[in-house]
Amino acid sequence: MAELKQLEVCLCGIPFKNPLILASGTCGYGLELRDYIDLNRVGGISVKGLSLQPCKGNPMPRIVETSAGLINAIGLENVGVNDFINNILPDLKKFDTVIIANFWGKSIEEYVEVARLLDASDIDMLEMNVSCPNIKEGGISFGTNLKQLENVTNSVKKIIKYKPLIVKLSPNVGNIATFAKAAENSGADCISAINTILAMSIDINTFKPRIANVTGGLSGPAIKPIAVRMVYEIYKSINIPIIGLGGIMNYMDVLEFFLVGSKVVQIGTANFINPDNALNIINDLKDYLNDKKIKNISELTGKIVV
């Protein structure tokens, strides 16, 4: 029992039994994993990004492996927010873990509407994915344009009554700290960083991109040093808590993200390689904290020595 306490953290008023969240897009809607791991043991689950209407996603191929990385362009395929709330969430709520609803839209109105529905539902937190283009504004991405990010964050925050709002930042910007600051100023309760990095791979036999969508997002260990640097930059410039992610494969990676300022972390691509990874990391973190006689993992947040 005492042991377990070492991993407890509180994020925006929500208690987590441990700071390991399964990242959006890498654990389906959670239920897909129930035959493989005990979902009650993970700190939280961020479900596949939800939109107002169901979305079929991109054509195939959608994934390709690179050196220590994975490019994906799933195209945000999802069942739609209503189907999720009505047909998936009730089963998901049976597990004792924090449910985070990752969501997106093609216009501010869509973001707002999805957020309103989720806020009224049984989920615990909202995570806004701003990596998609604003169709109404000619395709300018919400996540790589400061003004758009402020607008969408302000608008969503205004409509939400009950649940904390996490804004998940895109790494495809020059200075991610200014985007974090803008999100904070526009009402975000928490930042998660990073999403995938725009990337590309070419099939030298066919001369075609290896992803039908031409470009995709790079995740996995390859991007970890970039993600750690970005979390560090964000931590120095905002006061709201940070969920760090990008290439975490083991407990040592988790510690790196804590030291540069994460309060909680997410595990993405690592779930594909072995769905036990999250649970193994939780065990290893416990051992580490015991070994070092650290009372609570939060003591490590931001404790980099520079």
């Binding site: 897009g25 195939m60 191929p61 959608r62 994934i63 990385g69 799933i74 996995g220 779930n271």
Partner: protein
Amino acid sequence: MAKSKIIYNKKINDNYFTMSISASSETLKAKPGNFIMLKTNKNNLVYDPLLRRSFAVSDIEEDNIVITYKVIGKGTLGLTYLRENDIIETSGLLGNYFNCSLNNKRIAIIAGGIGIAPFPLLVKRLTKKNNFIDLYYGGKSKNDIVLLDKFKEVDNIFITTEDGSKGKKGLITDYINREYEIAFVCGPNPMMMHSIYKLNETCEIEVSMEERMACGIGLCMGCIVNLREETMKNKKCCKDGPIFNGRKVVWQNLNN
């Protein structure tokens, strides 16, 4: 994910290998068409290759399952370095399987290259039930024709190679001109498409699809197959497949 011991890892020829690994009693229940995923190296601190690789259960030998693999890239190259008694991580059984509760049927098995992999086990389950089985097996060259000793019980074997170095010269699909009640097909997408076109309309067709997979268990949505008549719902090759009704697959959506 389980740790399995390698019983043997034998070279068939420069590009093809066969590996036997110890299996749990669950895994030994593998049905033909099921697949497993393997970590292709032993070093737990390195992440290249990153993802596990998928392989059909090719055969079952005592308490071990056998895979047959072709060296394609870094992952399968990594497999070739593994030796007897090495421990590797495996996951599975994964996916669905071929319909093998058949009696008194006229059956075609159509394989292209490494597409032969799942069929030794299938043939084991189908023979001695009064089934009539023709094996069609095509490759680029003679090195692509392997495992023939596993098909001694089938009724006829048709072999083609593109360069004529073994069997008839040409594409295997050119030689399909008998009628069957059911056909099992595994190989490159164009070859599978073409087989469907060549088979008689009354023949049921089960194809085993190879899509790139990140997770193998339905988490990533990377391995989508579209079926006709179910246009609004994507199927996952890893969970809903890899075996699909060949006549329903929307081949155009698989541009790889």
